[in-house]
Symmetry: C2
Subunit: 296 residues, 2 copies
């Protein structure tokens, strides 16, 4: 049996199983690293998992040759900066384990069982407390030097929008302009309390569509999946598709974009994409572990 | 022996050999498709090439399942729109052949023999008559739905720059603001005639750095290579690196970015990156041809 952890800033979701049909889960609030990991370890000790995957909030160090491989790096969350998440879990449970970002986990899960099933090139974006994204290219998760930071993409700030943006690093980047906290600060109430005809939404749709356009120009994915709290507004998808078509202006001539935007930009399908993606990571860890004949 | 073609809008460069050390080349101006291809075929008939690669201007159809696979698609160049470049060359020379974009060819060549040698994740950008880019992710060229169109990335238009941009589709996208023709229209003379202390350059460096920042956030490459006519200005690299660091504002914490920008953002090294990348494509074509026992 495989185990998966979605390590989030507010909760850790743990799951065991082989896919969505037999997944058993438990959730623990994210408190101190010691307390949280104790509960996680306790959960997995009740099952005999042979390998474990972790899809974690970040930034995380994904470079196997780095001394801080598997650590949370520069998060502002108290006590979690520098925490050796992968190492702690491996030492306690003594199984092969593999770690990736939460959004890389989500696209892996959705590409195996969900709304990107069978696709080799797809992007998952979460728009909520923050904005982040994970991408598959040719069936593999994009890592590179560190990992993508799609929430910090830059695009034109609407001239009628005087809100300066809230990103402490970049001001009016994607996350600075379009995350849930940005919406709340700009309009004075949380996204879920803004009615569907509020002027917040056309602006939000435009910013999200600009982010997607930049990702389409850089990565050329076959599908975008948009999740997270802000995307719980049902009217937002149609507005984003319309803005996206307007921004591309017919330049990318492919039937999936010209005529198929309902599929090209859509919702994730899985209840626990991160946990399920972590199961895919656990599979990879088990493969490597058995290939090396050790708990690598 | 392998053959490679860099198919450009103004000239076709043909080469035979196994790499930079034994490459023999010939160049033909790009006139009508029939005339140009006749010269190309004539060149390769003088050598007994076993497989051929083509790195072409675009957009091109790279989807092997498409009826227009290997065709130039929607170029404004007279007679070339819809031209079956891959098919014409394969039918005439009867060898396995493979086609990709010119910039994908360039990053393949530079990753094998040039300034990105040994890297699995790198981006090549050309800034000249147009702007385009090719990316390797995990050692493979990014294709996806079509292929990236990095020249059409959107980013903030400097508020002090009243030039509207020249892209017929998007106005002030990357290419619309920062290509050679954009520089010439904005400042009234070609880039090569603008002195190093001209106000054109800080603005140009800022736009290029914004494009690179977006690509870093989307793709997380290990290196950027910047080629093309505009990048022949020797002072421009240092200005771009400085702006890039300012835009990232310390958010991506990796020594290659914090302390290694001279390597992270640099020149291509090869005289003929596209032709050499086409040789890599020819290798792939030969592998597939021999695996299938046919001239696939």
């Amino acid at each position: 049996m495989l185990g998966g952890i979605e390590a989030g800033g507010t909760k850790f979701v743990c799951g065991v199983g082989s896919g969505p049909s037999d997944l058993e889960t438990a959730q623990f609030p994210t408190t101190s690293p010691g307390e949280t990991i104790d509960k996680v370890i306790g959960f997995f000790r009740r099952y005999s998992v042979s390998a474990l995957g972790i899809a974690s909030f970040g930034p995380v160090d994904l470079d196997p040759s780095s001394p801080s491989y598997g650590h949370i790096t520069s998060t502002p969350k108290p006590e979690w900066g520098g925490f050796d998440l992968l190492g702690e879990v491996k030492r306690a449970l003594r199984v092969p384990a593999r770690l990736d970002t939460d959004v890389n986990g989500a696209i892996l899960g959705e590409a195996r069982w969900g709304a990107a099933r069978g696709l080799q090139d797809a992007v998952y974006i979460t728009i909520g407390t923050g904005i982040g994204g994970g991408a598959l290219v040719g069936g593999r998760v994009v890592h590179g030097l560190v990992h993508p930071e799609m929430g910090h993409l830059r695009f034109p700030h609407d001239v009628r929008d005087s809100f300066p943006g809230i990103c402490p690093y970049h001001g009016d980047c994607f996350e600075g302009l379009a995350s849930g906290p940005a919406l709340e600060q700009r309009w004075g109430k949380p996204a879920r309390e803004l009615p569907a005809d509020h002027p917040a939404w056309p602006l939000e749709a435009r910013y999200i569509a600009l982010g997607l356009a930049n990702l389409a120009f850089a990565l050329s994915p076959r599908r975008f999946l948009l999740g997270g709290g802000v995307m719980q507004q049902p009217h937002l998808f149609a507005m984003i598709r319309e803005e996206f078509a307007r921004i591309l202006a017919g330049y990318v001539r492919h039937r999936d974009i010209l005529d198929g935007l309902d599929e090209y930009i859509q919702r994730p399908q899985l209840d626990y994409p991160g946990v399920l993606g972590a199961l895919v990571l656990a599979e990879h860890a088990a493969d490597i572990g058995s290939a090396q004949g050790s708990h690598a």
